[in-house]
Amino acid sequence: MSSISTVILLKRASKVYHEGETIAGVAVVESSSDVRHEGLSLTMEGSVNLQLSTKNVGIFEAFSNSIKPMNLLNTCIELAPPGKIPTGVTEIPFELPLRARQAVSPGYPGLLETYHGVFVNIMYTLKCSMKRSFLNKPVNASCQFFVQYRPKEPAPLKPVRCEINPATIRASAPGGPRAPMPMFQIYAEIDSTVCPLDKPLTGKIRVDECSVPIRSIELQLVRVETCGCAEGYSKDATEIQNIQIGEGDVCRARDIPLYMVLPRLFTCPTTTTVNFKIEFELNIAIIFDDDYLVTENFPILLLRSR
């Protein structure tokens, strides 16, 4: 029995493309014998998948009403006309321009950056398909690639400063008498709430005073995804990553740097479209030795800029 397999290899190792660029690569067909086929085609697809969370709508609706994927891109080219592929490795080079769809339907957001979230997913794939006579199954191969915006001019920095002490803490988690709050005076600073995606997020935090030992100081990156449809919308905040920046009872009155490298794929520029929104927030959490937790929230704007 002859075996046949196809693989798509992209020229660019990072697989990151900007709109207007050409995606170049080869489709590799490896076969142990001569193969007849009914044509080899390459499809470029891009889509947004939205999902309603169970929190906001009933479980039923979440399944039934899961929103239809939005199509961002769909191009198809023929790599080879019907014919025969010889034994061994055959490489078929291809080039595809990455361009947004021309005929714009209302609400079409253009090419969005690749993003992997919980309720929103933006994905781009290349699919290679070899049709064969109806007795044989078609041979498929697919390959993801990533779309990024072209970097814009850097936006002006928007630093924020804040002080955290018992007075500034909102009475969170109502109900039930809480243990008396320890005395503390903490100063935090974020260099800019407008952050370029490929630069780390920086700032500093200083514990000026704290009556109980601190166990940990953490930096939490949170995505806020909002999905809207005819039935309503859902808004969910979920954690992307949590980075510890202080361990143990840190020295008082010392600036501890905040430093977080934004993870790829799980972040994208803050996006707002008709159907969904992707926003990001940053939490600074101070955990005391008795598990007492104090957090401060900062909404941040992520940008693709230099």
């Binding site: 361990e247 840190v250 020295c251 740097p257 790829r264 937790l293």
Partner: protein, 936 residues
């Protein structure tokens, strides 16, 4: 063949004087040149003593591995030409030092998911998950293969094994393409460093784990290198050009960095970034320095000062590997950061932690020392002007509280000349903090070490320094600390101050030791170090004994073992440093005598042989060195005293006998004979207490000879009598250095020496037997149970025959000046000659028996030689005119020719010698021999 030949010795009155040229000389030509060599190299005696233990001094296996791994580290890729300092070398010494210093007997805990065994636990993480979810996750984790296991109660060795296992696991995972697993193991390893439950072991743990992290870093680096440059080995960290790195390798590297940056916990993230620091070269060289600077500040986030300090060490270590000389600014930056957070070390929270682990504060602070040392090491290399830097640091010390740790580190890190300049200032500072300072002993000790290196006397105000120092030292609470501090300072005092000053310090030391209320034995180890140091550093070692405080100090220890050790130390160093041949000073002699007595008294039935050998050696040195110049009587008294003091040691007694014999030979007759007699009596009394028969024999002979020389005939005779009595007791073999050795050669030598001495010995006219001693000897030979075919036996008989013949002469070959030998005593009395001839006949008879036995035993070679030897005696010494002698000679010749071996060299030589003779008897003999040959 007649069985009996009567022996007649030839009178050779005409033989006199061969015509050899003669001239008068002032000294005896064959006298052995006595060269007195003082062993000049100071170590020689130690070497000499050590030679007995050299067998044990192979490099022990652990050390050997250590050396091997050091060599491995020196692989050509790593050896980089870094201008200035070789950091990798410095690190590896540091590394070894830490591993050997910080050990523990406590139980350790390891947490890992990649090790077999151990109970399953989920480590509680700091997270915001609610309990329910956490519980579910825990359940899930239980099924997960990689669940976290906690192994408790590990010993140090087991812990090390586990870490090595993890190290191997990383390599294995890497090779099997499970790179993420390797990464995870790396993270887990670095997490172990946040655990300070056994602080004492922390520095070593740090080393072990960072080694593992290095392994991981190298794996990543090498793979990226291979991806970029193939197997080109010439490429290394320093010459990679990021522009030539292919995109795919850059992408991989970038991926590692993202992966590393998303590690949740701070400590593993920092450690992993440091381990991967060198991979930044694939992306951009400019990223390394900012990264190092960034990590330097990020370490502030680590609250635990111990963890943070070692984190900085690893950062600087990696920076030095990458940046070489340029890294020194980061050393300084990290040191400054450390100082900023210095007070964290003394927080009550930390105090509680180390107190629950039963650590004292000085032990706790000592944990920081290697870290601070390393930071200072790099900082000092960068600084051009060290003395300014020291000023700055000293100022800093004055500003901060609890400055002892930093002070201690800077004193030990800076070089001596710089520290010496600031010594008074530092000492002042210590004095002002003295009552609450913890590591005061370390500071003072290292300051003292620096001062010891001061060579210029004017450079330092020694006296005031010592005074300030004494103020501090004498109020130290711990005796161990006191002794530790004393060690270098005493050396300083010895080299820079007068003997009086040193004496005052020694007195103070005695006072302190008595005041401290505990017996000095508890500190005998440190005590010895102090004494050793002093002995080695004092310019004139003899002066020590002249100080009135020295001997009481040495005897401060009470237990006998400690005393023995002390005396041994003092004596061996004294003799290695003492540079004249003789000791004359009475105080020194009596002090040394005291020490030797202590040494001697320590010997008992269970003392090992080597031990007593060393003691004997030392005491011998002492005995040989003591001299009272011309006061021979006192000298003898000294030897008498020595004998009574050192009776247990044979080696010493032997030396004493030799020494007394020397003394006897030195004693001139003008002084009266009593001294010589006393010496002879001393020897005669001393020798029997020895154990080795052979040695006894030798010493009897020697003493007898010396007595004879001094014309003490009676004493000589008794010595010889004792010697003869001993001959049957000499064993065939003796143990020497653990090997059985035949005594025959030695015995033969002693006996022929003895026989030649007998020629000089005048006969005992009181006895009714002529040739009294000789006849005793012959009788002993008759009764002796030696094997007759043994060369020792028949050669001795041949020699005796020689002597007998020689004794019949009118005028003996040699004489002693004052001694009346037998030739003059008897003047060839016929009765005497008859006795001698009778003995000769008997011996000759015995020899013939031996010859026959040799023939029976088919020992033809021996038989051949003996027959020719005997033939030669007969020809040369016998009276050939007598018929029996002539026929004996003939028969012996026949025998020898019959049994002759292949070349008959000896026979031919004898024959040619005879042919030159003009003596008519010989002519007749020759004729007869020729006939005999023809007949046969």
């Amino acid at each position: 063949m007649p069985v009996y030949y009567e022996w007649t010795s030839a009178k050779k009155s005409n033989r006199i004087k061969h015509d050899s040229p003669r001239f008068e000389v002032t000294s005896y030509p064959l006298k052995i040149n006595v060269i007195t060599i003082k062993e000049s190299s100071s170590s020689s005696i130690i070497d000499h003593i050590n030679k007995w233990s050299s067998g044990f001094e192979e490099v022990d296996p652990l050390l050997r591995f250590e050396r091997m791994s050091l060599e491995e580290d020196m692989n050509p890729l790593e050896v980089e030409k870094i201008e200035g300092v070789n950091y990798s070398k410095a690190w590896s010494t540091k590394r070894a030092g830490i591993l050997s210093k910080y050990t523990t007997g406590e139980k350790l805990t390891i947490v890992s998911s990649y090790l077999p065994g151990g109970e399953k636990t989920l480590i509680r993480q700091v997270s915001n998950l609610n309990e329910k979810v956490k519980h579910r996750l825990e359940q899930l984790d239980d099924f997960d293969e990689g669940s976290v296991r906690k192994t408790m109660g590990l010993t140090q060795q087991e812990f090390v094994t586990k870490i090595n296992l993890l190290n191997d696991e990383i390599k294995k995972a890497w090779e099997t393409e499970q790179r993420v697993k390797a990464f995870k193991i790396g993270i887990q390893c670095s997490k172990l460093l946040s655990d300070i439950s056994v602080m004492q072991f922390y520095p070593s743990k740090f080393i072990l784990i960072t080694d593992t992290l290095d392994t991981f870093g190298n794996l990543v680096f090498n793979r990226l290198k291979e991806k970029s440059f193939g197997s080109n080995t010439l490429v290394n960290v320093h010459n990679i050009d990021p522009r030539t790195v292919p995109e795919s390798a850059k992408e991989t590297c970038q991926n590692w960095m993202y992966k590393m940056a998303s590690i949740r916990e701070l400590l593993p993230r920092l450690y992993m970034e440091m381990a991967l620091l060198k991979c930044y070269v694939f992306i951009s060289k400019d990223e390394i320095k900012p990264a190092v600077a960034r990590i330097t500040t990020m370490i502030r986030g680590i609250g635990n000062p111990l963890v943070a300090a070692y984190l900085r060490v690893y950062l600087c270590h990696n920076a030095s590997k990458l940046l070489g000389k340029d890294s020194e600014t980061y050393f300084y930056a990290n040191l400054k950061e450390f100082l900023e957070e210095y007070q964290q070390i003394f927080l009550t929270a930390m105090r509680k932690k180390y107190e629950t682990q039963l650590l004292t504060q000085d032990k706790y602070l000592n944990l920081y020392v290697p870290a601070v040392d390393w930071l200072l090491f790099g900082t000092l290399n960068s600084s051009k002007c060290k003395s300014d830097l020291l000023d700055e640091f000293i100022q800093k010390c004055e500003q901060i509280e609890n400055n002892e740790l930093f002070l201690c580190c800077i004193v030990s890190a800076f070089d001596s000349p710089t520290v010496i300049k600031k010594a008074p200032k530092i000492l002042e500072m210590v004095l002002s903090y003295a009552d609450k300072m913890v590591m005061i002993n370390e500071v003072l000790a290292s300051l003292g070490e620096h001062l010891c290196k001061a060579d210029n006397h004017r450079q330092v105000a020694s006296e005031s320094l010592i005074q300030t120092w004494w103020k501090i030292a004498s109020s130290l609470k711990s005796t161990n600390h006191f002794l530790q501090v004393l060690e270098p300072w005493l050396q300083f005092a010895c080299t820079h101050l007068s003997t009086q000053h040193v004496n005052v310090i020694l007195r103070g030391m005695i006072r302190y030791m008595i005041k401290c209320g505990k017996p000095a034995d508890e500190f005998s180890g440190n005590f010895q170090f102090v004494i050793k140091r002093m002995l080695k550093s004092i310019p004139d070692v003899e002066e020590l004994f002249l100080m009135d405080a020295f001997m009481p100090l040495v005897e401060l220890v009470q237990t006998s073992s400690a005393r023995t050790m002390m005396s041994k130390t003092v004596l061996s160093i004294f003799f290695s440093r003492y540079n004249s041949v003789h000791i004359e000073d009475h105080i020194v002699i009596s002090s040394l005598m005291r020490l030797c007595c202590i040494l001697h008294d320590s010997i008992n039935a269970v003392t090992v042989e080597d031990e007593s050998k060393i003691c004997g050696e030392l005491i011998n040195k002492f005995i040989q060195a003591v001299t009272y110049q011309d006061d021979l009587e006192r000298q003898l008294n000294f030897y008498v005293e020595c004998r009574s003091s050192f009776i247990k040691l044979d080696a010493v007694l032997i030396t004493l006998v030799h020494a007394v014999n020397t003394l006897a030979a030195r004693a001139s007759p003008a002084r009266g004979k009593w001294l010589q007699r006393a010496c002879a009596a001393y020897c005669f009394v001393t020798v029997p207490s020895l154990h080795c028969t052979l040695t006894k024999t030798q010493l009897y002979l020697l003493s007898g000879q010396v007595a004879l020389l001094n014309n003490c005939i009676g004493q000589a005779e008794s010595n010889f009598k004792a010697l003869i009595g001993l001959i049957p007791d000499i064993p065939d073999y003796i143990l020497e250095d653990g090997q059985k050795k035949s005594t025959h050669v030695k015995v033969a030598g002693i006996l022929s020496d003895f026989l030649s001495t007998l020629l000089l010995l005048p006969d005992n006219v009181d006895s009714n037997c002529k040739a009294y001693i000789l006849s005793g000897f012959i009788k002993t030979m008759e009764r002796i149970h030696w094997k007759k075919t043994e060369p020792l036996y028949y050669n001795t008989l041949v020699r005796t025959l020689d002597l007998l013949c020689e004794m019949t002469q009118d005028n003996y070959m040699h004489h002693l000046e004052s001694v009346l030998s037998n030739d003059e005593l008897y003047g060839c009395d016929s009765e005497f000659i008859d006795v001698l001839n009778r003995y000769a006949t008997n011996i000759c008879q015995e020899l013939l028996v031996v010859l026959k036995m040799l023939g029976d035993n088919k020992e033809t070679k021996k038989q051949y030689h003996l027959s020719l030897e005997l033939f030669w005696r007969v020809v040369r010494r016998g009276e050939l005119t007598e018929r029996p002698m002539m026929s004996l000679a003939g028969n012996l010749w026949m025998l020898s020719q019959k049994t002759q071996d292949s070349n008959n060299k000896l026979g031919k030589a004898i024959l040619t010698a005879l042919q030159k003779e003009a003596n008519p008897n010989i002519r007749i003999l020759l004729q007869k021999l020729e006939e005999g040959v023809k007949n046969s």
